[in-house]
């Protein structure tokens, strides 16, 4: 039990002191029992502030410390380090959040804010006295890295790490690595060829001695913690031997079964396929849902024709176990499904397509060999309307509230390419809410597109309908919010700039790894400003569009950032894992298994011991979230840094007398 608690109050450069009287608060803290010293300072997190804490610890022989400042999310680690440097256990620290919980929301009521700040400090002091030391477990750091998702972000992160000498396992769900970037043909703002930029990187990854690619593979399990993750990756059965296949494509030419082309999102592909000419690894894959040999038991054409004898209908998927020290999630995004909004007609009218479908049409190696054609009659459209914010910036229940960031530039890029290269005499209309040309060189691009005669109408279309004349043309109904006029723009083809959704794989991986996601389902960063590539779990980082909509430059920058953070972590030979986790008091545990069911990380197992059925917590899996402790009916389950008596001491002091 602590009996000398020092209280350190931070001004936060005015964020707190402008609204709460610091002197009054300090004086008050000194009136509390067992508080021999209280100080306030302009920036407690600065070096001078930390030195002040250290000096007072020595001077007063303090055994517990309260810092009243911002949210513990920001500086708890800072102050724990301060304590540790003086030889105190870092868990002897309690924080009172007098910024987010006090000065910010109560900025208009300074008197009440002061009163609340006093209460919060009193509560923190009461808790501090009850805090117990918590040790750290030391383990040898595993220096290998798992990168999940081989889009441009995953590729960049892998190369950075591998160049620095780390061994990387790069796991990709699809038949080929590359992600979305190879599909987009040209990249704004320079209009350089996407494939020419990404393809060398793909080859570099494949050739790198430190990188092992596991393609057509998915993450199934993850145990352990920072420094020592044990993961299980399923290498799905391609039904083609990767080592034998030479990628000649003879099988594709002869395969009799077709299905919708999920890579190009238009047209069809064969049941045995190589998704695109530059695919890597360039080997065929059999789609078991449509392969006649698999579904009907008769065909076998590909096996007969294969010159390398690579087809193997009996091939089974394999579970591969890997041990790694850190993980980078780069599982990317997908286009929002516009058929969710029936009034835009996608899926009902053949000549409404998405920007990605248009990008695939523009590709000379794509399904239409670079010809822009209307799906209804294969004719070249001369009048094209693009609809921005399809599903994004939309607070209706079917929409996405956030901005997808890239679609303004995508539409401008496609308008530019259409007018300059594909259909020079075309009329392009873009209906938009705002044009967000935020990046370097983007505004200039926007200007150039306007000079080409692309028409921009400010307004979000209400609906898209067909014409009655059998032409399969479309009418876009929109209010021009500059002129306040209703417009009906007739067009031969409509292109929807869809919102960005997290890829299905992003959601799956978040579940397997137990990392937090945001409202949209993207991976949540630990701190939006200061720790943008860390996730809620130590040792797991995020890069690229898996964290939120972004363009290639940002995805690549973030990937290098994630690689750098990973290297910083792995530069130490020892992984220190703090044990502020759940703990079972075996005597009180009745073996009811409520905790086992509530644990979101499967960290608790029920074990039959000689003294009865008891809960056992795995230190490696426990995140210290406290769900089990909150639900335990007997109080046997305790969180080591938030034990019942510690929480109750704080609550008691909070509601006790002033």
């Amino acid at each position: 039990m602590g009996d000398k608690v020092g209280v350190f109050i931070c001004h936060c450069g005015g964020n707190i002191s402008k609204y709460i009287n610091m002197e009054e608060l300090t004086k008050y803290a000194l009136t509390l029992e067992n508080v021999p010293v209280a100080e306030n300072y302009i920036f407690m997190c600065s070096e001078a502030g930390q030195d002040l804490i250290k000096d007072k610890i020595a001077e007063y022989n303090l055994d517990r410390v309260v810092v009243a400042s911002c949210s513990p999310k920001f500086h708890e680690p800072t102050f724990r380090r301060t304590l540790q440097e003086t030889g105190l256990n870092p868990y002897y620290l309690a924080m009172a959040n007098i910024r987010e919980h006090c000065s910010f929301p109560h900025s208009d009521e300074p008197d009440k804010a002061l009163q609340k700040a006093k209460d919060l400090v009193r509560g923190a002091v009461a808790r501090a006295k009850t805090l117990e030391p918590i040790e750290k477990k030391k383990q040898i750091m595993n220096k290998d890295v798992l990168v999940v998702g081989a889009g441009i972000a995953g590729i960049q992160a892998s190369l950075d790490l591998a160049d620095a000498g780390f061994k990387v396992y790069l796991v990709e769900k699809d038949a080929s690595i590359g992600g979305n970037m190879p599909k987009v043909l040209k990249t704004f703002p320079t209009d350089d060829c996407a494939m020419c930029t990404v393809s060398p990187k793909m080859n570099e990854v494949a050739a790198h001695k430190n990188i092992e690619i596991l393609s057509y593979a998915e993450l199934r399990e993850c145990n352990g913690s920072m420094g020592n993750f044990e993961v299980v990756v399923e290498k799905k059965a391609r039904l083609v031997d990767e080592r034998k296949c030479v990628g000649c494509g003879d099988c594709m030419a002869k395969c009799p079964s077709k299905t919708a082309d999920d890579y190009n999102q238009i047209g069809q592909r064969k049941a045995i396929y190589i998704p695109f000419p530059n695919a890597l690894p360039k080997v065929a894959t059999i789609d078991t849902s449509v392969c006649l040999q698999i579904t009907k038991g008769k065909c076998g054409v590909c096996k007969k024709i294969c010159p390398a004898d690579a087809v193997d209908y009996e091939q089974k998927s394999q579970m591969v176990k890997l041990n790694v020290g850190a993980i980078i999630v780069a599982t990317g995004y997908k286009e929002y499904d516009p058929s969710i909004k029936g009034n835009y007609g996608y899926g009902r009218y053949p000549n409404i397509i998405t920007q990605m479908q248009l990008a695939r049409m523009m590709d000379p190696n794509g399904p239409t060999e670079g010809k822009i054609i209307r799906p209804s009659d294969n004719k070249e459209p001369k009048r094209i309307v693009m609809v921005q914010c399809m599903g994004s910036r939309d607070d209706k229940p079917t929409g996405r509230k956030y901005c997808s960031r890239v679609c303004c530039m995508i539409a401008l890029k496609h308008a530019n390419l259409l007018k300059r290269d594909c259909i020079k005499d075309s009329q392009i209309d873009i209906c938009y809410m705002d044009i967000r040309a935020f990046g370097k060189g983007y505004e200039e691009y926007y200007q150039r597109v306007q000079d080409l005669g692309v028409r921009l109408t400010r307004g979000r279309p209400g609906e898209i309908i067909g014409t009655d004349d059998g032409s399969n043309n479309l009418i876009v109904r929109v209010e021009d919010t500059f002129t306040k006029e209703f417009k009906e723009i007739e067009s031969e083809m409509v292109v929807l700039s869809c919102a960005t959704d997290p890829s299905d794989g992003t959601k799956e991986v978040a579940k397997v790894l137990g990392i937090a996601t945001d409202d949209g389902g993207f991976i949540k960063e630990f701190h939006p400003k200061l720790r943008p590539v860390d996730t809620s779990v130590e040792g797991i980082f995020v890069a690229g569009a898996a964290q939120g909509p972004k363009d290639i430059p940002d995805a690549v920058a973030q990937a290098s950032g994630a690689a750098a953070r990973t290297m910083a972590l792995l530069s130490s030979d020892i992984a220190e894992i703090s044990l502020d986790k759940a703990l079972v008091n075996k005597e009180e545990c009745k073996g009811c298994d409520i905790c086992e069911k509530t644990c979101p990380f499967d960290a608790i197992t029920m074990v039959d011991l000689p003294e009865g059925r008891k809960a056992v917590v795995s230190e490696a899996l426990c995140h210290g979230c406290g769900m089990c402790a909150a639900n335990c009916p007997t109080g046997a389950m305790q969180l080591r840094h938030y034990k019942d008596n510690q929480v109750l001491a704080e609550v008691g002091a909070l509601i006790g007398s002033h």
């Binding site: 969710i340 909004k341 029936g342 009034n343 009902r348 209706k396 229940p397 079917t398 609906e463 309908i465 067909g466 014409t467 009655d468 009418i475």
Partner: protein, 324 residues
């Protein structure tokens, strides 16, 4: 109580399969009495218990949307209607025939439940004749109920709609006010009527102006005739392009507009439409073998429905039970 779940925007909602309080509609009961008869016919075929309450008053939704009566009056009228529903012994599930009643009384209910002081005010007034609204009424639209019973109704069907093309038109007050509650999901492109048609083997048509207003617009039909007629014309023209055998509607206002004004519009349009109009309950009753005149009530329709009925009657799936 028996119930089933139907999909809505987020997940699904529960629809009771029995014990209905038949919340009638002013326009429907006066202009298209066949709809009431059809619903009775359907409920009896399904063996459902229902109440027809002579004390229920018009919800006054039209007046409210046409700016004729104030909101407070509207809310108080509903408090009284709800108290009647609550006093029912078991038939406590209000089934609105009309989308405007549905939207209006649901809105009133939300208002009363959300503002206790308003509820108190309304209750003070209706207490004068011994009534009280407690806040228990449950409100559904009859289309949802028919949709919920679809499997059983299909088994009971005498005729099928095989080979028949039906253009549908959904009521705005069903789809736009409580949009998260629209059966089958998308309120911007509602298809619950099409699902009813498909259930009986027919084809729901996808015509271009499917989501366009019928051209009534409440106060606009009173003060802005030319505009409302142009909207209606656009609607009918687009529908006609897909050659429907029938126009299936959900709302009394739309029925009135799209049925009564087809002929007067011929001159303005320079073409004839001749698209027979039925309501979802009438179509269902017809498929179940109800008498076209005595039950479905086609004599009160303006566009002749007989040609459509003849097509239906060619598609017999079962011996017609004698009903009168």
């Amino acid at each position: 109580m028996k119930q089933t779940r139907v999909p809505i925007l987020h997940g699904d909602k529960e629809i009771p399969l029995d014990n209905y309080y038949f919340f009638r509609s002013c326009i429907m009961s006066t202009l298209f009495p066949g709809v009431d008869c059809s619903l009775r016919f359907i409920f009896e075929k399904l063996g459902c218990s229902y109440t027809e309450d002579p004390k229920q008053t018009c919800c006054s939704g039209f007046n409210y949307h046409a700016d004729i009566i104030p909101w407070e009056t509207n809310v108080t009228i509903q408090a009284r209607n709800f108290s009647l529903i609550e006093n029912e012994e078991k038939n406590k599930n209000a089934i609105c025939v009309c989308p405007t009643s549905y939207g209006n009384i649901k809105e009133c209910q939300e208002h009363l439940d959300h503002y206790p002081e308003e509820k108190e005010k309304a209750n003070k007034i209706i207490a004068k004749f011994g009534k009280e609204y407690k806040g228990e009424a449950k409100i559904y639209h009859a289309t949802e109920v028919i949709y919920a019973h679809r499997e059983k109704l299909k088994k009971l069907a005498t005729y099928s709609l095989d080979g028949l093309k039906v253009a549908t038109h959904h009521g705005c007050h069903y789809t736009k006010i409580f949009y998260s509650d629209v059966a089958t999901g998308d309120w911007e492109y509602p298809i619950v009527l099409d699902k009813i048609v498909e259930n009986f083997g027919g084809e729901g048509l996808d015509y271009n102006e499917k989501t366009l207003c019928c051209g009534m617009g409440f106060r606009h039909t009173l003060i802005n005739r030319d505009y409302t007629r142009t909207v209606m014309l656009r609607k009918l023209k687009s529908m006609k392009a897909t050659k429907p055998d029938l126009l299936l509607v959900q709302c009394p206002g739309c029925s009135l507009n799209l049925d009564y004004y087809q002929k007067p519009l011929t001159k303005l349009a320079g073409e004839e439409f001749n698209i027979p109009v039925l309501n979802y309950a009438q179509l269902t009753a017809l498929v179940l073998g109800a008498d076209p005149v005595k039950v479905v009530g086609i004599k009160t329709h303006n566009v002749d429905v007989m040609p459509f009925i003849e097509k239906v009657q060619k598609n017999k799936v079962k011996e017609v039970a004698q009903v009168g």
